[in-house]
Subunit: 385 residues, 3 copies
């Protein structure tokens, strides 16, 4: 379909349109929903040189970070922010990150976004696999995008798509290209991610991806709840086992809570399509996340309802894999591989719900997927992390 297309960044041609700015008016689109797209280069502290793209579309604002693997920093619907508050407030330039620090936890010095991709050579907790330290959640999030393109369809509803290509390449070891397409239809409170992992190399490689999708207040609050159709659930470790019964219930910010993590095999429709929902206490604010279990067969609930300042946040994380170190997941069948020239697609949608009807509709869809199937509840962790 015909589109307007704008090249914002491209390493092949050494293009960097650092002050890119565009409005629907400016390009002569007579859209009933006004929009603007703007890139800025951040400054100060460890965000010096980071790039931030802001899509302002009607009453919705989406902020992305090309410098940090096309992460979605946050989404505003009106005044309501979806995302979370990390003690890390800056958009940290990967130049200042050492993933190997703290025994492989350096990733935590930059972690503050709503959508963080973990991967692709590996994801999960740090640890030794094949004699090498795999650092927490892989390298992609600390990799600047090599190519960023904005596309706008020239016919109503003027769908907007921001595409980034992030390379995970290392001589002898890895030749991955990841295309990350975020699209949104002006007027809808939804963003859609269509990602494609391409193995450009001539050798099959193991890969993993986890979509570390994180939500804090206001959608996360005491009395709120997470829903998804569950085939099997198990605690990540002994401590999570203590919270297994209440895994879906959101508690208040709680000193010393730290994190409880749950491994879930979701149910889905025959095509693999399924959905997770997080809503607030009064069930009139929520986020519904659509994904596909053929692409992303498992899901991690990361319940980190510690104090507000420590990071009050829940992760709802579809993935190829759980959050264990890669060496522990081969036996679980959760370390897939990708052949030479092959692609893998990962599609997610985030729908932002701001009334009780929308929340109830999402809940009904999930209950429909659950049907009469009783979740299998395992009391013991799948493996010992």
């Amino acid at each position: 379909m015909p589109t307007y297309e704008y090249l914002i960044t491209d390493s092949a041609t050494s293009t960097s349109n650092r002050d890119f700015h565009l409005t629907h008016d400016g390009i002569g689109i007579d859209s009933p929903v006004p929009f603007s797209i703007r890139q800025q280069t951040l400054a100060g502290g460890k965000q010096q040189g980071s790039e931030l793209i802001t899509l302002q579309v009607g009453d919705m604002t989406v902020r992305l970070v090309p410098t940090r693997g096309m992460a979605v920093l946050d989404v505003f619907v009106g005044d309501t922010r979806f995302g979370w508050d990390s003690p890390v407030q800056e958009v940290v330039n990967p130049a200042f990150i050492n993933l190997e620090a703290f025994g492989g936890l350096g990733w935590l010095e930059g972690f503050n976004e709503m959508v963080v991709r973990c991967g692709y050579q590996w994801a999960g907790h740090p640890g030794i696999d094949n004699g090498e330290l795999l650092t927490l959640h892989g390298r992609i999030q600390n990799t600047p995008a090599s190519r960023v393109v904005l596309s706008i369809e020239d016919t109503p509803p003027y769908t907007i798509r921001l595409s980034g290509r992030v390379d995970e390449k290392c001589f002898k070891r890895c030749d991955f290209e990841v295309w990350m397409h975020l699209s949104l239809v002006p007027g809808e409170h939804r963003i859609t991610l269509r990602d494609e992992l391409i193995n450009r190399g001539d050798y099959a490689r193991e890969y993993q991806v986890i979509y570390h999708n994180n939500f804090g207040t206001p959608v996360l609050e005491a009395g709120g709840r997470v829903h998804l159709p569950v085939r099997q659930i198990s605690p990540f470790n002994t401590y999570a086992g203590e919270g297994l019964n209440g895994w879906a219930e959101v508690g208040p910010p709680q000193r010393g809570f730290d994190e409880q993590v749950f491994n879930i095999h979701p149910l889905a429709d025959p095509q693999g399509n399924t959905e997770a929902l997080l809503h607030n206490a009064s069930a009139d604010l929520g986020v519904a996340m659509g994904f596909n279990t053929v692409q992303l067969p498992v899901l991690t609930i990361w319940k980190n309802t510690d104090t507000l300042q420590q990071g009050y946040v829940m992760g709802i994380e579809p993935g190829t894999s759980f959050a264990y170190n890669r060496r522990l997941q081969r036996d679980l069948g959760l370390v897939p591989s990708i052949g030479p020239g092959e692609s893998r697609h990962f599609n997610l949608s985030f729908t932002f719900l701001n009334n009780a009807t929308q929340v109830a509709d999402a809940l009904a869809r999930i209950e429909g997927l659950q049907g009469d199937i009783r979740p299998e509840v395992l009391d013991t962790p799948l493996c010992a992390p």
Copy 2:
């Protein structure tokens, strides 16, 4: 008090006034002591992108490095430079530093300033503590300032203050803000540091700080001497034990000397205020350093009087802690903690002395603090590094 205030850098608003420049004339201050403040962005080699602020106040020049944790690079009084000559000549951008290199000695690839703060999650020598490699002297010195503000009082003597905030933040691990205020009164040959460590997190954390204050020629020369009131002194290790008797005497640049390090518990007045002095051979050039033992109870003498090219330098280093790895200092009571929301203040002054009377006055103050108290001299190190 009313002041002129200028925001130079601020990550919260993504401000970076990279070519900031101001003169007393330019802002209409009728100061008898002319001054100018200028920021420049450095280029070339590993200093590409480092920022340097130069305060030129009368015959005194102070150079600070926001990009390197608000370090004081050096101070000139007239033509006399206080600071030292490291083989590392560039103002190294932390983007090019890997603290984990060389078993945790990567910090040495950027070390060349007069005032280097070590901290705040830890300071001291590299080594394993709690199963993790603590790299040499912590992370703060390789962290760019997130906020830099210049203030100038609008009444005589037009005191100038440069304030920087450097964050040491990591999800789950640390939520420190450090405000570093350097002030100087035009006409005086003194700089004052008033630092504040704030634990913004909800959990108590261990912390350490060492002010690694370093001086080379001309104030450091054979026949010179360091003075401070001593309650107890001990050698850092066996090699330092060999130099224990002459710990306060400055020798000439000496091939193969490497470094001798001494642990000192200083004496102070009832309020904890105390002073250290380094002067040259003829005792007509010196630097007097004021600090407070309630804030900074111990002091390390780092006598590195190796050859000029290798780095002929002495460190006079008040701190919460000695230079041992953190794991060795808990038993010494030198790993304090800071509760949620708490602050710790650290005040230091550096007075640059350029005649015999000033040196003699400082010496008299120190002798007054020592009084009749005989220093306790321990022949053996406090612990085995």
Copy 3:
């Protein structure tokens, strides 16, 4: 001799002429061979901020990377490119490299140039030496040049020289300056490297250097061959032992070939001058590499004729040392040291041959150096890597 001289980069004066551009016309040189020299700052992905210098001289184009240790990215003679295709396509800014990653293999995330210097504190494979992890091939290649100067002689043939100084400095550990001079005579298809390692420190230091010179298609192709006068050859490891007989023959891109590495002690003329040649199947395209065995006594053949996408490349690598970890090479006498104030010179030339006569002439010179001497062939590796 009188020259035009242009300072492009200098950390001492904080000079960075990022958009430097010059033509023979522009400076009033009436050269029969037109030339231009241009610096650009690259953008996008991990090459954000990398500088690239392009020398366009007649039908020859030479691209250098000051940001990556003055590497020669590639050379074009007409449409023929000398260099190779790595999966790593960007000119990676060292700010995004962690040499310690993957057990010391982080260097591979930026490796894609024709001339890559390995050194100077160490070169060779990663491994522990003296209790420290030495990362693959040392640090110099991931160090931005501190000073870059362009010189052009003002008389015919208007020889062009681009000089870079790259520092390898670390307090207490290393005080190396490396001057890297690339020169070319307009009209000749040759570049000459004259490098000088200077130990500015007061202590003798071990050093190593390997010139990792890498060539892919079209000069590398099945049926091609490498030639040099050989005194002794041995396989790097058992796998290379399998290919020992055919070490000089170039095979086609071969899935699973990975790399075979051969250790060679070359023969030379009485002054130590010698030559290596790589040519294509029809022996009408080649590159002849001149070096001196007094300076660089050994040479590594790195036959990495894996698939095109994986990296089809051969390295012809004169050095002070083989590619083993430094700890294994002391017993081989291949870890030299450099005294305080001393210099070491390393001169190489690369002549690009584009007809059968030129190739035959180079081959004849090499056969002359070999004469009647039979290469000593060792079946077993010199040491166990």
